[in-house]
């Protein structure tokens, strides 16, 4: 990927709001270690996605800064995948510690399954199929608008 800052943020929010929500709707009923009603778990799952989006804006600023040290101003495919580790850890820590108190603490297995599946799906789509409907997207640094 060769994103611009605005493109990074837009792509993240767009993908979470579409594919992220869709995958969440499909996966929540089968997540391990369920507690509470299905409706509550859906609300919680969607809030986790929202948190990935909000925190993600800060992450994207950091990535953009780091990318400046690269001559090509690119963001290798592998980075896009591996950044799930720091992002997941920070979010998980914030949830467990109760800093984000409007999201119920999530069991580790449920959180990591949900988070990883959504992440990998988005990563796969942004590295190819996204270009099928949106032919201008890759030439605009990932801007959707």
């Amino acid at each position: 990927m060769v994103p611009t800052l605005l493109g990074r943020i837009q792509t993240r929010l767009f993908m979470l709001a579409t594919l992220g929500v869709l995958v969440t709707l499909l996966i929540v009923p089968v997540l391990p270690g369920p507690s509470g009603s299905l409706a509550d778990r859906y609300v919680n799952g969607l809030l986790v996605i929202a948190a990935v989006g909000v925190l993600g804006v800060v992450w994207e600023l950091i990535y953009h800064f780091l990318m400046q040290f690269r001559w090509e101003k690119d963001w290798p495919t592998l980075f896009g995948l591996l950044t799930l580790v720091p992002e997941g850890l920070v979010l998980y820590f914030l949830l467990r510690s109760g800093v984000i108190d409007f999201i119920d603490p999530v069991p580790a297995a449920a959180f990591w399954t949900h988070f990883t599946v959504v992440w990998v799906c988005i990563w796969l789509v942004t590295n190819g199929p996204m270009r099928v409907p949106f032919i201008r997207w890759r030439f605009r640094g990932g801007r959707v608008l």
């Binding site: 060769v2 101003k73 290798p76 190819g128 640094g141």
Partner: protein, 485 residues
């Protein structure tokens, strides 16, 4: 006037001049956007769009089985770039290792790049799919002129015997010029030698057929001087090293860099390119973000001297860092048969034994006089755009001008500035437009970016409907099934 002269005239709304990959991707876009073949023609002196490209890559030591220097998702036969070449080759050859390489490039692996043959086969498939040959008119374009009343006349000389008259004329609202490199330019000292001695066998350009060099070296030990620090120099070196290994040859190689890069270089920690042993290292012709990221966005806003400065900052000859090449050069240096030196060559002369003496002056004042059997010019200098008659005529009579780096001045949507005529528009893409708001023009993906800008501009002018997500997706499925557009 035209009619009175008895020259046959054909009306065609969109005419592309060139018939190489630039014309092809533009017509491909427009066909997929929905323009029928009856509305478009391409005038060319070659039979298939990849012909010139294949000739040049083959000369510069990339036959069909070898890999070119191009990104996996830059597919001139597929405007979506999906599935990428890597996915296709991995699937066809059952090689998951390609997927691992594309996942880990450029961090743990070299960039994955497609085989030249993969590119050509897919171009052929796509050309058939969009009925490219229904639009092809063979001939040599003499000039493109504005006509009274809007649009343009394009004057064409058809091949002998193909038409009743010596000239035919196309009348069009839109003309697109993609005629590629105006010509090759030789290093002046080498040109002088060739002219003086009439010797085109021992001093050669890497872009012209020069198989005789490699054949000679198989018959007896010899020395080759290589000039230039780009990808062609890398590829020629690889051929010399490969032959050395394969046939147990004794070839000595002297490599002259005018600019010798000895390490990472650049003014700021945020703009520093890797380099070493003479070379500047970069995956592709330009930093990757010119094709869609930060550099593309920055350059789009720059004018005049600021733009020229930005081009200079990211320019300079470079080559990819490939592990295989590094290994071979390392072996060459330690084995004493590969010598890289910095220097400018004052002149080349024939020695008493008939071999070639280069007079090389380095920056530190040392003068070397290496003697060689062959000199291969790998600098790939390009001639000025005015060397080509169509551009020369446009600059003189068509209202066209030059951009901050001296080539053809185009708008962000690749309209040639100053050439508009009534409701007619003249577009240009490819190498001639380097120096514009978009830098990567002379690359596969750059030609596609230009084609998309042109197609969208034509949509604004009502020639075709702008392609949105639904049509794009439907058309992609047609591409997958190899169904007509």
């Amino acid at each position: 006037m035209v009619a009175a002269a008895g020259i046959p005239m054909y009306d065609i709304p969109f005419l592309s001049v060139g018939g190489g990959i630039g014309s092809f991707v533009t017509l491909d876009y427009l066909r997929i956007y929905g323009v029928p073949t009856s509305q478009m023609r391409v005038v060319s002196n070659i039979d298939h769009p990849w012909q010139t490209y294949e000739f040049l890559t083959r000369c510069s030591q990339i036959p069909r089985g070898e890999r070119i220097r191009s990104d996996s998702s830059s597919r001139p036969d597929n405007l979506w770039g999906f599935p990428s070449y890597a996915l296709e080759e991995a699937w066809k050859e059952k090689k998951p290792s390609y997927l691992w390489q594309i996942l880990t490039e450029p961090l743990l692996n070299d960039y994955w790049t497609p085989r030249a043959g993969t590119v050509f086969e897919n171009l052929e498939r796509e050309a058939k799919r969009i009925d490219y040959w229904d639009m092809l008119v063979k001939g040599q374009v003499r000039m493109v002129r504005r006509r009274a009343g809007g649009g343009y006349f394009t004057v064409v000389t058809p091949p002998e015997g193909a038409a009743a008259t010596k000239r035919i004329i196309f009348r069009s609202r839109f003309v697109h010029i993609a005629i590629g490199y105006p010509g090759l330019k030789f290093l002046p000292d080498l040109q002088e030698f060739r002219t003086k001695h009439g010797d085109y066998q021992h001093v050669v350009n890497a872009y012209e057929p020069h198989e005789q060099v490699y054949e000679f070296l198989k018959t007896r030990p010899g020395t080759v001087v290589i000039r230039g620090g780009g990808v062609v120099a890398s590829r020629v070196l690889q051929r010399l090293f490969d032959d050395r290994e394969r046939h147990g040859l004794q070839t000595q190689i002297i490599h002259i860099f005018r600019t010798f890069v000895s390490g990472p270089h650049g003014p700021h920690v945020w703009s520093r390119r890797k380099g070493g042993h003479g070379w500047a290292y970069q995956g592709f012709n330009y930093p990757k973000s010119v094709w869609g990221g930060q550099l593309k966005a920055e350059m789009r806003k720059l004018e005049g001297a600021d733009r020229a400065k930005k081009y200079k900052e990211m320019g300079g000859t470079n080559t990819p860092y490939r592990r295989r090449w590094q290994e071979q050069m390392r072996a060459g240096r330690s084995g004493g048969y590969y010598h890289a030196v910095q220097g400018t060559v004052d002149r080349v002369e024939r020695g008493p034994d008939g071999r070639l003496v280069s007079y090389v002056r380095s920056n530190d004042g040392i003068v070397r006089e290496p003697v060689s059997d062959y000199i291969i010019d790998c600098t790939g200098l390009e001639a000025d755009i005015a060397e080509h008659r169509i551009f020369d005529d446009l600059l003189r009579n068509g209202g066209a001008g030059r951009n901050p780096v001296g080539r053809l001045d185009v708008e962000r949507h690749f309209e040639v500035k100053g050439t508009a005529n009534g409701d007619g528009v003249l577009y240009a893409s490819g190498s001639a437009t380097l120096g514009g708001y978009f830098p990567g023009v002379d690359t596969f993906l750059g030609l596609q970016i230009a084609a998309q800008e042109i197609a969208d501009d034509l949509a604004r002018r009502g020639f075709v409907k702008r392609m949105g997500p639904l049509r794009s997706t439907a058309q992609w499925f047609k591409w997958v099934r190899n169904a007509p557009v």
